[in-house]
């Protein structure tokens, strides 16, 4: 990037003309311009983001690699060589990361164990299936709120079994993730209330589960959801009602489930109000309302390239700084040229 054109031109006159064209400094300039255009596309159109960035990145790797092969100047300028090699490594690692990464979202009720089910997931084509062996339990959380309903610290207690079979627990939240087998789980600002039910089917089988109402306080005025009990086609409307002020805009408060509440259940045109322990008889079975808990939204990410990418970025920065330092010290800016 910073070697004189004339120096390169003089030293790279022999060899494959195609390789020389690929190693061109002007091509580097065009590729940077292409990356700029790709970044603008990424900003406005996520649909075409992958190709708008992948093509210039691939060209960039080719251009850099060709320059390293063709120009003997790199052999003498080790800092510059290291910088270019680190840039190539960054491009290759980003590509490897995109092929093997996983990113997803999940919601977990207090007391529930994560079983590998994600509400939203995106993964590279070469991502393996190790994720299904990852499990932890949400033991509950607290979130502080400052006046004006401004979210403060999140403290979420979690429990898991480590690879040696020993039970472990920790408090995660905000800047502290739970990392299991390379997968990092982060709490998010999504959380809300979860009515917990036991669904007794007519054949005697009982299913225990919860329905996650929309995030609170983001959807404070619409704490309702449609739900279909397992094994049925019947749609049931569930609405949470409470009069308490959970998050007081006037003073510091903490997210919690309401102490007094009622659950309004709509089946067809019929409305029923349920309290904890209340039952609702349906043709397909019996719904027992066990009580109200909270749910927490998590994001999970996996990218094995991250530490290597960080190392390559640091190597690139340090080698560039080293190159500039040597260059500038060798010729003070006001010295005769």
């Amino acid at each position: 990037m910073t070697v004189q054109t004339s120096e390169f031109a003089a030293q790279s006159s022999a060899g494959d003309p195609w390789l020389h064209r690929l190693a061109s400094l002007r091509l580097t300039l065009a590729i940077i311009a292409l990356l700029l255009a790709g970044s603008v596309v990424a900003l406005h159109n996520s649909e075409h983001m992958t190709w708008s960035l992948a093509v210039p990145m691939a060209l960039f790797a080719l251009n850099l690699a060709s320059a390293v092969i063709v120009n003997p100047a790199f052999r003498r300028q080790s800092a510059l060589l290291l910088f270019h090699l680190a840039l190539i490594a960054i491009v290759l690692l980003v590509a490897a990361g995109r092929l093997t990464y996983l990113r997803g979202d999940l919601e977990l009720t207090e007391g529930a164990v994560f079983d590998g089910q994600l509400t939203d997931v995106e993964a590279g084509p070469w991502h393996g299936s190790r994720f299904h062996n990852v499990s932890f339990e949400n033991l509950g959380f607290t979130i502080e709120y400052a006046p004006g309903i401004r979210r403060g610290k999140t403290r979420n207690r979690v429990r898991w079994i480590d690879e040696a079979g020993r039970p472990q627990s920790a408090i995660i939240g905000d800047m502290d993730a739970l990392t299991l087998r390379g997968y990092s789980f982060y709490t998010t600002h999504h959380k809300g209330f979860a009515p917990v039910f036991t669904w007794w089917r007519n054949d005697g089988e009982a299913l225990f589960g919860s329905v996650h109402l929309p995030p609170y306080p983001a959807f404070e005025k619409s704490q309702a959801r449609e739900w279909t009990p397992p094994g049925t086609t019947r749609s049931i409307g569930i609405m949470l009602q409470f009069d308490e002020v959970i998050l007081d805009p006037a003073r510091p408060s903490e997210f919690r489930v309401p102490r007094q509440h009622a659950l309004v259940v709509r089946v067809g045109d019929e409305l029923r109000e349920l309290r904890p322990g209340g039952r609702l008889e349906l043709a397909e079975g019996t719904l027992v309302y066990e009580g109200l808990r909270a749910w927490m939204g998590y994001t999970v990410s996996y990218d094995w390239t991250m530490p290597w990418l960080l190392a390559a970025c640091i190597a690139a920065t340090l080698s560039l700084a080293w190159h500039f330092w040597r260059k500038f010290v060798a010729q003070p800016w006001l010295a005769p040229q």
Partner: protein, 270 residues
């Protein structure tokens, strides 16, 4: 709070005096450089004390509200520029270009409410300070390059040629500006790296192409383009100076525009 604001106003007066003196020094062909340097040092001391008192009172640094953001940036830009002013005597008249930029930011700062803001939970990390520190060093070094580029462009346009005659040739100025831009790309790269580490810890992703990240990357690419252009195309001092202005414009928009017009998670207040 009243004493903090009094100190801040005293600093504003010292900045303005330093700037006015620097501009009139160039216009009248005088060299009040020691006085300008003294006033800048005084302004920095007063402003720094005001920021420190506010930090102590609120329990957090100057990085939450627009008022704090502008105040701390004026301080860091003035600090880097004062160092350059002290170290590079032959180019001291560039203060006539740089100080109006600081005046504009000071005016913008004074338009904002100095009330306290809310500290998002993800701001309780050492990476915040490192990330912001590199960002301030980057913008400071680019501001010095802008001062030098401004002189080149004024001369190229035939404005103030006589008054700016005592500065080194455009080629020499271009070389010095290039050095500041080279320093700038190191600091901006470190800013992006530390920002990525912070983003990974805070939101579980080191890069998500959110508006602030993308504009920072666009600024970085433009800076890389500007540096590379010198060698690939043997760019003239005028072209180099124009590229510096473009980089500064992008950096200014990224730092002072994007965080306050987007609702992306980067704001930290969700």
């Amino acid at each position: 709070m009243q004493f903090e604001m009094q100190l801040l106003w005293a600093a504003v007066i010292a900045y303005v005096l330093a700037g006015v003196l620097a501009i009139f020094g160039v216009l009248l062909g005088k060299r009040p450089e020691r006085t300008v340097l003294g006033l800048l040092a005084l302004a920095l001391a007063l402003h720094g004390t005001s920021i420190g008192l506010r930090w102590e009172r609120l329990g957090h640094g100057p990085y939450i509200t627009m008022f704090e953001f502008l105040s701390s940036n004026v301080w860091s830009l003035a600090f880097v520029f004062t160092l350059a002013y002290w170290r590079y005597k032959p180019v001291r008249p560039i203060a006539a270009v740089v100080m109006p930029v600081l005046f504009m930011m000071l005016g913008w700062m004074l338009l904002h409410d100095p009330d306290k803001g809310h500290v998002p939970a993800t701001y309780h990390t050492i990476w915040l300070f490192i990330h912001i520190g590199f960002a301030k060093l980057f913008s400071g070094t680019v501001l010095v390059a802008v001062g030098i580029a401004g002189v080149i462009l004024l001369r190229e346009a035939g404005i103030g040629t006589l008054r700016l005659a005592r500065l080194p040739s455009n080629e020499r100025l271009d070389d010095l500006a290039y050095r500041f831009m080279a320093l700038g790309i190191i600091f901006e790269t470190l800013m992006l790296i530390t920002g990525a580490i912070w983003a990974q810890d805070a939101w579980g992703r080191y890069w998500a192409w959110d508006p602030l990240e993308t504009w920072s990357f666009i600024t970085w690419l433009t800076l890389a383009f500007a540096l590379h252009l010198r060698f690939a195309m043997n760019a003239t001092p005028r072209t180099g100076a124009l590229m510096i202005m473009v980089v500064f414009g992008l950096a200014f928009f990224t730092f002072f525009g994007v965080p306050f017009v987007t609702t992306a998670v980067h704001q930290g207040a969700v």
